[in-house]
Symmetry: C2
């Protein structure tokens, strides 16, 4: 049993603000929150280990609810080529873009993929992240989608972090289904539904199903086939929707009670209303917005007006958001999308948990998992406002505390 004292707690257990409790006490027992409240209300715990928070801020551990963390290869060279004037088409003709990541990921051993993904997950954890969603989608066949999702599961075995896997086989049409310039997307969707999805679900590798519904991805009809197959297997769905064009994917996803629709720059009010109706979370990805130099912002005002919960994630991926940093996403959501610091922090805690179907995470409340982050700051807005000096002091995963080392180097 642990007793965290001398803290302010942003419980996030509040629809509007931080759910702030000044001078709070939090008691952890068997990996879960046993008590959270004002210090003067806290029960006696004579045998608990007492942790002095030094007046810091305790929040739920952060949740990165949209990542593509498992991949190999490097797109740095393409990035440089583009900055030297090459077009996307020239790069695609050289086998660049997502094709190059699929090739490198297929060629990489599971061990190599794991090592790469461990580095990325640990980077997120060092910023206060205790839960990460990990999508497949660079394998695009049974063997390689399995490899990606197996690595995702291994992350949870080798690190204390909580991992949720999402099958995103419908990320792009693989080379086997796009020979001679003929994109047989229907054939590939059938292959996913017939083989990849049921097999990997049966192997316990799939927590949710996602697709890339876009003019350059899969059509709404193809996406709906995926949704039906997922529902038959009892799996929750998510969707990459309305990033480049309005395919009305969010509305389609809402009709299947999607956990989330993600990106949403082109979302219209009808889609917003459908999401509000189904309780689907809007996952906003300011890193991709930034990196792609997008100018069309997601409809924040409409999402607020209709009460759609908004989450924020890194979208960490080599093509459109090579950014493994969740705190930066808070600052970018405020700066680019004009989201308030309260919305930003809710977006990586309470609402991010909801986007993953996690009912016992994302808030500091009795009975929830003790995934907690202690920050050396007084004002919760600091977490959105400043960037670069890491204020994280201690991180709890299921009640197990890890102190961040303040001087992370050693003289030789």
């Amino acid at each position: 049993m642990q007793r965290i004292e001398n803290i302010n707690a942003a419980t996030m257990n509040d629809d509007k603000g931080y759910g702030l409790i000044q001078n709070a006490t939090v008691i952890i027992s068997k990996g879960k929150i046993e008590f959270v409240g004002a210090a003067f209300d806290a029960p006696a715990t004579p045998t608990a280990e007492v942790i002095d928070g030094n007046g810091g801020l305790l929040t739920p551990g952060l949740i990165d609810c949209h990542t593509h963390l498992v991949w190999a290869g490097s797109r740095a060279n393409e990035f440089a080529q583009r900055l030297h004037g090459a077009s996307y088409q020239q790069i695609a003709e050289q086998g660049g873009g997502i094709k190059s990541t699929v090739k490198a990921t297929r060629e990489a051993s599971q061990e190599t993929l794991l090592e790469l993904a461990l580095n990325r997950a640990e980077a997120l954890m060092s910023q206060g992240v205790t839960s990460i969603e990990v999508k497949s989608g660079y394998g695009l066949d049974l063997e390689n989608e399995r490899k990606q999702l197996t690595v995702a599961r291994q992350l949870a075995e080798q690190l204390p972090v909580n991992i949720r896997t999402t099958l995103l086989a419908a990320h792009a049409v693989p080379p086997e289904f796009s020979e001679n310039g003929n994109n047989n997307a229907d054939g590939y969707i059938d292959e996913i539904i017939r083989t990849i999805l049921p097999t990997l679900t049966n192997e316990g590798l799939v927590d949710a199903v996602d697709a890339f519904c876009e003019s350059i991805g899969f059509s709404p009809a193809q996406t709906e086939k995926m949704f039906k197959a997922a529902k038959e297997l009892g799996l929750p769905i998510k969707l990459h929707a309305e990033q480049i064009t309005n395919q009305h994917g969010a509305k389609l996803a809402a009709g299947y009670q999607a956990l989330s629709a993600d990106h949403l720059e082109q979302l219209d009010e009808e889609g917003v209303m459908a999401m509000a109706e189904s309780g689907t979370v809007a996952v906003l990805l300011p890193g991709a917005f930034y990196f792609l130099r997008d100018t069309q912002k997601p409809p924040i005002e409409l999402l607020r007006k209709h009460g759609v919960p908004m989450a924020i994630a890194t979208d960490a991926n080599p093509g459109s958001s090579p950014i493994h940093n969740l705190p930066l996403m808070l600052q970018m959501a405020a700066t680019f999308f004009h989201m308030t610091p309260e919305e930003c922090l809710r977006g990586v805690t309470r609402n991010a948990a909801k986007a993953l179907g996690e009912t016992k995470r994302g808030v500091i409340a009795k009975g929830c998992y003790a995934d907690l982050a202690l920050w050396q700051c007084q004002d919760a807005a600091e977490l959105t406002y400043q960037f670069g000096v890491n204020p994280l002091k201690t991180l709890w995963f299921n009640g197990v505390a890890h102190d961040r080392v303040s001087k992370p180097w050693s003289a030789r």
Copy 2:
């Protein structure tokens, strides 16, 4: 004596590219570079400590050539207020903006300021930074400008990092000179020239002199008075120029052989040509551009056309760039300003050194200080392309190596 082997070296000793040497060897002796070249050309060093670079990339240590690192207080609350709809004017009327930072910095003890600045400097160092420029400008009187610059000097005593100080007393008009709404900027400039500048120069606290030449800052005439006073004391000058309006400050600064003109969003070709003529470095600050939601980019094409060296810095400060992260500035310079990865890396090494008048830093070349960074990456473009996973392995300050700890936390 140290011998770094099994590396690729981006020496930056090249006007165009990275000055890359594949399979290089670098020999360090007495804190300086003794040899840099292809491994097969390296002389024998039987007694040297051999460091295996594991195929990584060695670059000059990064240089952050424009920061306001020493300040107290928090502007997080103002940031939150603005996102909740308050105007800049409302915040200013409540004593917010730079006034609040000046007040908090004046009220803070030297010890408090040092502790805050140490955290910020260490954050930069953990990203590969070996030299930091630190400006005053939140004291705005003799005692408090001295306090800021003394803290800057203390950073260099307590950390291995190289610090260059810049007196920016002409940052804003202090309350003593702006009573009853009358901004007596001339009176304050006279006070700086008569007292603050000569006294602090005499105390060895001033390496360069800077001013904020702007419609809301100091006029070109006031700025020129500062330049003349600086030149009489033999001090090099820098200038905050052309950020919000075109005051032709860069041209003025170039006429005084300024080391750098900084910001430059509104710079015209005449100013660019004057900078080219005088060898003045253009210090670009993508963090402020981003945080202020600016849309007017600095004239990169003109700077390229006339061969003005471009540097990149954090501008770390509580008002317009609360960002203590130099690698992020590389990615932002590429993303917002379309600078190439070569330009970005040159901007935080060779050209940043030039912006500080450092003749023996910023490149890996014989006789230079052995300020070096070893990165776990193969392609130098990675340093600009990806963000969040820190590839830094080892950092040398004057030849003293510090290894970054890869797991920067400990279980309780």
